[in-house]
């Protein structure tokens, strides 16, 4: 495992979780969280879970289509998920209020379509509590 140079503390691999509250293309925080996730994985740490809450649920939208010359944040998460088998959890309660649904939720709520992107899964707030228990560090990326 790589060992960052130039630090005087003893390096050890840690388990991180991230809580992301910001929608892409509305605030910078989703992009910052994605960059931070890449950096911690590059340093050899473990990313236990990314929990998308509040407006952060829009990170999991399959329908966002930023202009060609702007960063595609949702795609960035998906690429990282494929490479590292990340647990990308979109809070189901926050997502329901904001119109981010997978197909079983769309059916249950009698909505005309689903829009949760591949690589993300809907789950309850318990997954945030679980991340707080099972991670060495939990970093919040606000709105």
């Amino acid at each position: 495992m790589p060992r960052p140079a130039g630090h005087f503390t003893i390096w050890q691999s840690m388990k991180f979780s991230l809580a992301v509250y910001g929608a892409p293309h509305a605030s910078q925080s989703a992009a910052t969280a994605l960059r931070f996730a890449r950096a911690l994985l590059a340093a050899g740490h473990e990313l236990y879970r990314v929990f998308f809450y509040c407006d952060g649920v829009h990170n999991g939208s399959a329908l966002s289509a930023p202009p060609q010359d702007e960063a595609d944040i949702a795609e960035g998460w998906q690429a990282l998920q494929r490479a590292h088998k990340l647990d990308l959890v979109v809070c189901i309660a926050a997502a329901q209020r904001r119109g981010v649904l997978n197909s079983s939720e769309a059916n249950r709520l009698e909505k005309p379509a689903a829009n949760l992107a591949e690589g993300f899964e809907l789950a309850g707030l318990g997954q945030l509590a679980d991340a707080a228990v099972n991670s060495d560090r939990l970093i919040t990326f606000g709105q």
Partner: protein
Amino acid sequence: MANRTLAICRQAPYGSALAREGLEAVLAAAAMDQSPELLFVNDGVFQLLDGQEPAAIEQKSLQRNLQALPMFGVETLHVCKLSLSQRGIDPAQLQITGAEIVLVVDVGKFIAGFDIALNF
């Protein structure tokens, strides 16, 4: 060793969803017997004001969420003393049935006692 977790609630109620969604996250954790300690600071202390009547703006009262906390075992609410006095709130006004209000004078020292912070 288990993490000591602190939920920090800094937002006023109703203007944004964050105050509500923060309390919902705390309640969900409490329901799993993993309830964090709770600190209300800055505009978050406005969540504790008595007599909120948000029906006129078509919202549910946040006080229902607060009152549910003791039922799930969250019996102590830590509240920043400075934040109260800056907002002209008398600590004696604050009452959440079943919960004890504990004033925190040194917020930095209090936060330092935890491993993990949830920020709302």
